[in-house]
């Protein structure tokens, strides 16, 4: 792989004094600041509070805002790799490309050979124990499978930061949780992850910190630390008392704002 200047490690992000407004609308963000550590963060908040907008700004897709997005100590660096799993797979998979071509698209842009790409894609599928018809096209797959494709594409490049925008909304509970655990424990996991979610369980399984957003313009309402270590995050925790306690505590905090 082309590794010129590329450092494979998680990166912290800061958002400073962000102000963002769509035309003819209220402010989505006004002097909004948020510091994300190198760990995993889950963003919660009601529909339309600006979670996706925030992800697009932090990932550099949306540049029409005032304020600063700082990666580690400098602003946007081309050397860093960014992964982004978009919310709506029907808009963000290329229908003319097979499942395989979609997954390895980031590698194709960097000029990685087809053979090497194929190996990497196979390896990913094996790690996630997915039995995927790689030659099929997105329109031949279910919406859940398409979401998985989007997520696989976002991690194939081993990004420094991975943005996941409700990536599993079309998956059933079992597959969703399985996928989450596999995502945390995947090989070469050197990403800090920013995760938008609607379910507390996902956040507790996955994140080191839950951030609750709300209001218009949006602000950080509360933050909750999740004390699980990485090696503790296994399917067994789902039925542990600690998991229940943490979830209950989070729900209590959230309830204050409903």
């Amino acid at each position: 792989m082309h590794m010129n200047n590329y450092v494979n490690r998680p990166i912290a992000i800061k958002v400073l004094n962000l102000t963002k407004k769509f035309t003819n609308e209220d402010y989505v963000f006004r002097n909004f600041s948020l510091k994300l550590t190198k760990k995993n963060t889950a963003l919660f908040g009601p529909n339309g509070c600006g979670k996706t907008t925030l992800l697009r700004i932090m990932s550099g897709l949306d540049k029409s805002f005032t304020g600063q997005v700082i990666y580690e100590n400098s602003s946007y660096q081309k050397k860093l790799r960014i992964g982004y799993a978009f919310q709506d797979p029907s808009k963000f998979l290329f229908p003319w490309m097979s499942a395989f071509e979609n997954i390895v698209f980031p590698l194709k842009i960097r000029g990685v050979s087809k053979k090497e790409s194929f190996g990497l894609a196979r390896n990913l599928l094996n790690q996630f124990k997915l039995d995927f018809p790689l030659q099929s096209y997105p329109y031949q797959l279910s919406s859940g499978q398409c979401q998985i494709l989007v997520v696989l594409r976002s991690i194939i490049d081993s990004p420094n930061i991975l943005f996941l925008d409700e990536p599993f909304s079309n998956l059933d509970y079992l597959n969703k949780t399985k996928f989450l655990f596999d995502l945390i424990h995947r090989e070469n996991n050197n990403s800090s992850i920013v995760f938008v979610s609607h379910t507390i369980d996902e956040g507790v399984i996955f994140a080191d910190e839950l951030v609750l957003l709300g209001g218009r313009p949006a602000r950080v309402i509360d933050k909750i630390q999740i004390p699980f270590k990485k090696e503790e995050r296994k399917p067994e925790i789902l039925i542990s008392k600690r998991f229940m306690d943490i979830k209950q505590n989070a729900l209590k905090v959230f309830k204050k704002y409903i």
Partner: protein, 247 residues
């Protein structure tokens, strides 16, 4: 479902037969189906008097269709990519699109003289308009979400064009090419009729002047089949190249 298409065909031929075998309609005006069939067979396989006109028409239609499509697609994609170019030419294109192309034939004959080139010019132009507009629309309205994916990975302009813009515009390009072919057929026959060119259009004018209705009918069947086979061929190519369309 294919077997049902025979029902319609049988119906048409039955009505034709009933009318032409009865004594009410003059045989000179409405020849019997088998006479037309024999005439066609004669014209293509025995005496061969239809072969040259068909070849002439095919030559003209293919040359202008291919030329008009290629130039139209290239210019259309450029115009679709650069908004300012598109806006500058939008008005005149809309004007010419609304204009029946046959109206341009007299002008073209004045400019280029009687002959194949004036026909070639008008047919190419009408094909150009359709492929241009569709290609330009395709590029302009290619999904912005597709570009986001490339942006994340610092895609180059060339890669973006080859891997995102071009394939996402293909369905629209194909729609334009298909429309262009039907238009090419109409304008080719029309211009041949007007300019006395020795293709099928010229032949049909000659035939009707001397009440050779068998020939008129034969040419109608030939041109109709040409259009039908052409559009089926494009449908087939489209389903292979733009396989994701409609899925």
């Amino acid at each position: 479902m294919r077997k049902y298409s025979f029902v319609g065909l049988t119906f048409l031929i039955s009505v034709w037969s009933i009318l032409s075998y009865g004594s009410k309609v003059d045989r000179l005006l409405l020849p019997q189906p088998q006479d037309v069939l024999i005439y066609l067979f004669n014209g293509f396989f025995i005496k061969g008097f239809f072969i040259t006109p068909l070849a002439e028409t095919l030559k003209l239609i293919l040359a202008s269709f291919i030329f008009g499509s290629i130039v139209g697609i290239i210019c259309g994609m450029i115009a679709g990519y650069y908004e300012k170019i598109y806006k500058s030419f939008e008005l005149i294109l809309d004007f010419f699109r609304s204009l029946p192309s046959l109206l341009l034939i007299p002008l073209s004959i004045l400019l280029f003289g009687i002959g194949q080139f004036s026909s070639f010019f008008v047919i190419s132009w009408s094909v150009f308009v359709y492929s241009f507009i569709n290609a330009a629309y395709g590029v302009r309205y290619s999904k912005t979400s597709y570009f986001d994916i490339g942006k994340l990975y610092n895609i180059s302009k060339l890669q973006e064009f080859m891997w995102i813009i071009l394939p996402s515009t293909l369905p629209s390009i194909f729609a334009g090419v298909k429309m262009g072919f039907s238009i090419a057929l109409i304008v080719t026959i029309g211009s041949e009729m007007l300019s006395g060119h020795q293709g099928l259009g010229g032949r049909v004018v000659d035939a009707y002047m001397v009440y050779n209705t068998k020939e008129v009918f034969s040419i109608i069947v030939t041109v109709g089949s040409l259009g039908y086979l052409g559009s089926k061929l494009f449908d087939l190519i489209e389903s292979k190249v733009v396989h994701w369309r409609g899925n």
